[in-house]
């Protein structure tokens, strides 16, 4: 039980995907200008991450693992991307039907979740760290929540920028990158929380 909690907190705060590994920066910068759409993006990513963890774990262990499966480890990337792509398609359909405004606000970044390296990274971490099924689900969910939290914090900060006299050269992406860097620095404060 304690190891589950450790994995969860590690994925959310200490080894945050955005600010520790710097994975998934594309959507982090792209969709973090509005709180509402960034929360939607976070939720979509969390769903895809959790489902990916749930589906890829058995696929890896019973299909492609060298020890327990058919010994096809070179298919790892292809199969993971396939699962992620199918899930993203599903999320896209779901959002288009039930949250049309969010679907429009996310625009191209929604299908781009497919190529979001945070999700593939998470699936690969599960394999590398040899998590069991429950651990990997908790890890996927925690990673998604961490992603959501950071992207919403970022959107909150960037919304405040709209009222600030930002010099023209810093407007947009430069300020977003500076902010991301400073956020990452502050998240380094968590790094001593969990003993290695």
């Amino acid at each position: 039980m304690s190891s589950l909690l450790t994995i969860f907190i590690s994925a959310v705060l200490v080894n945050n995907f955005l600010l520790y590994y710097f994975l998934g920066i594309c959507s982090f910068i792209g969709v973090s200008s509005k709180m509402e759409s960034s929360f939607g993006m976070g939720m979509a990513t969390t769903f895809v991450m959790t489902m990916t963890a749930m589906i890829t774990w058995p696929l890896y262990h019973y299909l492609i693992s060298p020890e327990t499966g058919l010994n096809l480890p070179f298919l790892e990337y292809v199969i993971f991307i396939l699962v992620i792509a199918a899930l993203v398609q599903f999320v896209e359909m779901f959002l288009k039907k039930f949250f049309h405004s969010l679907y429009k606000a996310l625009g191209i970044y929604l299908p781009l979740i497919t190529t979001n390296c945070a999700i593939l990274g998470m699936a690969l971490f599960i394999v590398i760290r040899d998590y069991n099924y429950l651990e990997s689900i908790v890890f996927g969910f925690g990673a998604g929540l961490g992603f959501t939290m950071v992207i919403v914090i970022m959107a909150g900060i960037r919304e405040e920028y709209a009222y600030s006299p930002v010099p023209a050269v810093f407007r947009g992406a430069p300020l977003a990158l500076l902010t991301a860097g400073m956020l990452a620095l502050s998240f380094m404060g968590f790094s001593g929380m969990i003993a290695p």
Binding site: L63, L72, I79, L82, V83, F90, M93, K97, A168
Partner: protein, 269 residues
């Protein structure tokens, strides 16, 4: 053996996810009217925003929901309106034509100091770039860069406007840091405007520019009633139906300009 296994695994995975997605699509399908797509196809797709909608797609769905008139696209003009009215069956009205005019007519700038800074108007406007005229055009072409239609061209004087290419979307208006550009309605295939924005008194305007409006009010007196209005030592042309004979006004600094479809360009008379 391995190759066969991996092919089977991939094909199986693809089939399973494909079937699952097809089932999900059946449940979650959103019906979109093909008319919207048709309208979007005939729109220019430039997303210039002159119609008041963020993109051509949004404008198309607004037309479809009958939230707006169909004559708002300035890039397409009458030909486009006919196409849209064919598709939707809505009546098309004659499109109003708008063009940008630059309220400055400088040919040779009087300079107080050399300017070494970045060659763009926005940076130049921070310091004034050493120009004697505090209201005039810098000529670095921020408006030229803003124009998605290539209607503006940098010259040694004020950027030159191609009357036929300009559709009056107004993107250059936002780009000009000195607010020299205005979108004006074309009346009888031409636009009359005063190419100056200097609101200083006659003496001060004269010292910085030879073609600036000095606010002498001659145009008010000699042209048709209401065609010009002088305020703050600066004349502005108003929209009037009557013909304005510019040479007959004899503007002392020749800052009344006319643009028309015929000569496709800016001509000082």
């Amino acid at each position: 053996m391995e190759i066969l296994q991996s092919i089977l695994v991939l094909v199986g995975m693809g089939l399973i996810s494909g079937i699952l997605l097809a089932v999900a699509y059946g449940k979650l399908k959103v019906d979109e009217d093909p008319v919207i797509e048709k309208i979007t196809e005939v729109l220019p797709g430039l997303n210039c925003g002159a119609c008041g909608y963020a993109s051509c797609g949004e404008y198309a769905s607004a037309i479809f929901q009958k939230l707006t008139d169909i004559g708002l696209c300035r890039a397409g003009g009458d030909a486009l309106n006919e196409k849209i009215s064919e598709i939707t069956g809505l009546a098309s009205e004659a499109a109003e034509v708008f063009k940008a005019v630059i309220h400055c007519g400088v040919k040779e700038r009087k300079i107080l100091a050399e300017y070494d800074g970045p060659r763009d108007c926005l940076s130049a406007s921070l310091t004034g770039a050493g120009l004697a005229c505090r209201y005039g055009c810098f000529g670095y072409g921020d408006c030229v860069n803003a124009c998605p239609f290539g209607a503006l061209k940098v010259t040694s004087g004020v950027p030159e406007l191609d009357f036929n290419l300009c559709i009056g979307c107004g993107l250059c208006v936002d780009a000009c840091p000195r607010d020299l550009i205005e979108i004006k309605k074309v009346l009888k295939d031409k636009i009359v405007y005063v190419a100056c924005s200097n609101i200083q008194s006659a003496k001060l305007t004269r010292t910085v520019c030879s073609v600036g409006c000095i606010g002498c009010k001659i145009c008010e007196k000699r042209a048709v009633e209401g065609a010009f209005k002088v305020e703050n030592f600066l004349a502005r042309a108003e929209a009037v139906e009557e013909e304005i004979d510019i040479p007959a006004i004899k503007c002392p600094t020749a800052c009344i300009h006319e643009m028309s479809n015929l000569d496709a360009g800016d001509s000082a008379l």
